[in-house]
Symmetry: D3
Subunit: 62 residues, 6 copies
C-alpha cells in the first residue's frame, strides 16, 4: 500500500518505464509517508484503437 | 470526464469498435450533460480463457 | 458481458442515472450484438477532492 | 454478482487457471451466499515489466 | 501478488467479509502456489443504484 | 492521458492529497513526456475493513 495504476499509450521504452515507476514511487513516499518497499505500481499499456476521446478512437485521429 | 470502460470479449472488428465508442459517447452526453469532447472511452478486450462464469472458463464452455 | 464502468462526478440525480444506464446499454447492444439482458453497467461516483487534472484537485479549481 | 478480478503474473497454465476460477468461485459462494451461476471471475495477466514494488520493475529484480 | 478485487452488493456483515477474504486467499494460494502473506484482497461495495443489468438499475428492480 | 489511479488507506488530509496529485503528476510528466494538463489522477480511499493481506482484513490486524 499504496497501489498505483498508470494507464498510458503503448510505445514507451523500458528505460522510460523504469524511470516512471521510480519517480512515481518517490512522489508517493514523499507525500503520504508510506514505506518505499510497500509501494506497488502497475503499468497498463493502451492501444490507440482501444482509447477514444469525444467519440473517436485515437487510431482514427492520427 | 466522464470516463467509460467497456470490457468485452475479443474479436470485435474495428468498425464495431468505432461505432461502439461513438454511440456510447452520445448516450453519455445526452444523459449527463457532459461536453462531448470531455468523454473518454477505454476498451478492454477479454480472452475466453480469462473470463469465467459459475466457476468455468468461457474457453471450456465453447 | 459486456461490462461497462462509468466513472463520473458525484451529484447526478437518480433519474439521470436511470437514463444513463438505459441509453448506454442500448448503445452497446446496438453496436456489439450483445443480448440486452447480458449487459452490465457499474456507476462509480467521484468526489471533487479525489480527481485531479494537471496536478490540481477539482475541488481546488472550483 | 459478485465480480472478482484476479491480477497475477503471467505464466500460469490453463489447468492452473481452471482450478483458480473454480476454487475462488466456490469460496465466494460459500461465504456470501451468492448463486454459483452468478459469480463472474476475470483474470488479468501482468508482465514483469509492468509491475513494480519499491520503485523497481519486477523484470529488473529477476 | 496476486491481487484480487471482489466487487459485491453492499450489506454483507463483517463476519462474512472476514470469511470471504480468508477463503478466497486460501483458494488462490492452493491453485497458484503464491505465498499466503503475498495475497492481497480488495473488497468493493456496490450500491443498488450504481449497478444495472439489462439497462435497469438494481434499485428499480427490487 | 496518462491516467493514474492511486488506491490508498483512508485518512490522508486534503493537504496530503494536494501534494500527492501534484508530485505524482510531475513525476509522470518528467518521465513520459506527457503534457501536464493532460495528466489525470484519480484517488481511491480504502477502508481498513475492505483490504486484506494474507487472508486477514487490516481492521483485524490493528
Amino acid at each position: 500500500m499504496p497501489y498505483i495504476t498508470v494507464k498510458l499509450l503503448e510505445g514507451r521504452t523500458t528505460a522510460q518505464k523504469q524511470a516512471l515507476v521510480e519517480k512515481v514511487t518517490d512522489a508517493v513516499v514523499e507525500t503520504t509517508g508510506a514505506s518505499k518497499e510497500k509501494v506497488v505500481v502497475f503499468i497498463e499499456d493502451m492501444k490507440p484503437e482501444h482509447y477514444a476521446v469525444g467519440g473517436q478512437l485515437l487510431s482514427d485521429l492520427n
